[in-house]
């Protein structure tokens, strides 16, 4: 179990396919064609991870998934509060439209959990297909906490192995409403090989 090294460029291609697949599913959910406006991607050293998502003290909604199989690791998705409301509003306009997510945080978290489930599963499935490996995720948990605290806790786990593990960071923007979210993929064993090129 574990021990595989992922080639970053191939990971990026697979992950973008996963995001496209997630977009299709979310479009079907919402009954309106959503557009994947932009995917920014990079891979970074572990110690940069806590600062990846902007101000580390800013509170975000995070979906956290661990996975095993041929590659062990973690998939984190971070949603800024305003983006979380926009995304949840896209998914359930009749529900969240009249209610502010601030007034109904449980509902917002539940909707974000659904979105994270769709996106996370799609990305992990395409990465597994792309590398012809088995990835076995456990159901996600949703955390509302400082972005840096969630990221650094996840990094501690990934940091157990090796000195030069890389993580993949992607920022995806959906639709004209510019609702964006961030994905951090932390493989525990082996990490990535490749070059630290940013991909647009």
């Amino acid at each position: 179990m574990g021990g595989k090294t992922l080639e970053y460029a191939r990971f990026h291609e697979s992950a973008v396919l996963g995001l496209e697949s997630a977009r299709e599913i979310l479009s079907a959910y919402t009954g309106r064609p959503l557009r994947l406006a932009a995917v920014r991607s990079d891979y970074v050293e572990l110690n940069k991870v806590p600062l990846l998502s902007g101000p580390p003290e800013e509170v975000v909604l995070s979906s956290y998934v661990t996975f095993g199989g041929d590659v062990e690791g973690q998939l984190l998705m971070l949603f800024r509060p305003e983006s979380a409301e926009k995304l949840a509003g896209l998914l359930a306009p009749h529900v969240l439209g009249p209610i502010s997510g601030q007034r109904s945080p449980d509902l917002l978290e539940s909707l974000i959990g659904e979105i994270a489930n769709v996106v996370g599963s799609a990305v992990l499935n395409k990465v597994a297909d792309g590398f012809e490996i088995k990835i076995l995720p456990i159901p996600p948990v949703i955390i509302r906490e400082m972005a840096g605290a969630v990221l650094s806790s996840a990094t501690a786990y990934a940091g157990l192995d090796g000195d030069s593990t890389y993580v993949a960071y992607m920022k995806a923007t959906l639709d004209e409403e510019q609702a964006s979210f961030e994905i951090v993929f932390l493989p525990r064993m082996g990490g990535f090989q490749g070059t630290s090129q940013m991909t647009e």
Partner: protein, 173 residues
């Protein structure tokens, strides 16, 4: 006017400048350790990530001579981090037995996130406490555990340490 010196993941920083504020942002399972010598009015802070170096060698500068980026830094592990922070201050004449010691963090932020040896935040708290005792430092004041992130600050000029969390705001420890 204060100047913030950010102590990043696995880093140790120190200062004798009274306007400096050493800050470890958003400690989750990591533990921040602040040391301050009241005579020299000098402070150090470590941002500890993991409990034990298990005998790994500490690198000279955190960057390998080759092209492979290295992550190992003295602040990564509790046993090496506290010792390194103490050495930063004793090198300029500080005395361990008179240091003010504070620690914060070691939370369990992600539900279900454990290692084979148990919760990583708890292990970090234990390892830092053991290092503090082993090095003959005074008993620390602590704000540790729980399930929330914290930011720790050490005001070098005053020797004052604060902890900020979203739910509790900022308070002195």
């Amino acid at each position: 006017m204060s100047d913030s010196l950010v102590v990043g993941l696995a880093e140790v920083k120190w200062s004798v400048l009274p306007e400096d504020v050493l800050v470890a942002f958003s400690l989750g399972s990591c533990v921040g350790v602040a040391l301050w010598d009241p005579v020299l009015r000098a402070g150090a802070m470590a941002h500890v990530m993991l409990p034990s170096s298990r005998g790994r060698k500490s690198p000279k500068n955190g960057v390998d001579a080759g092209l492979t980026p290295r992550f190992e830094k003295p602040g990564k592990y509790a046993d090496t981090a506290v010792e390194y922070a103490v050495r930063c201050l004793t090198a300029i004449g500080a005395e361990p037995s008179r240091m003010m010691v504070r620690m914060a963090g070691g939370a369990h932020v992600i539900p279900g996130f454990t290692l084979p040896g148990g919760d990583i935040g708890t292990a970090n708290i234990r390892a830092v406490s053991e290092a503090i005792e082993r090095l003959g430092l005074p008993e620390p004041r602590k704000d540790v555990g729980g399930d929330y992130g914290r930011t720790m600050r050490l005001y070098v000029g005053e020797g004052r340490a604060t902890v900020y969390s979203v739910s509790r705001g900022e308070r002195e420890i």
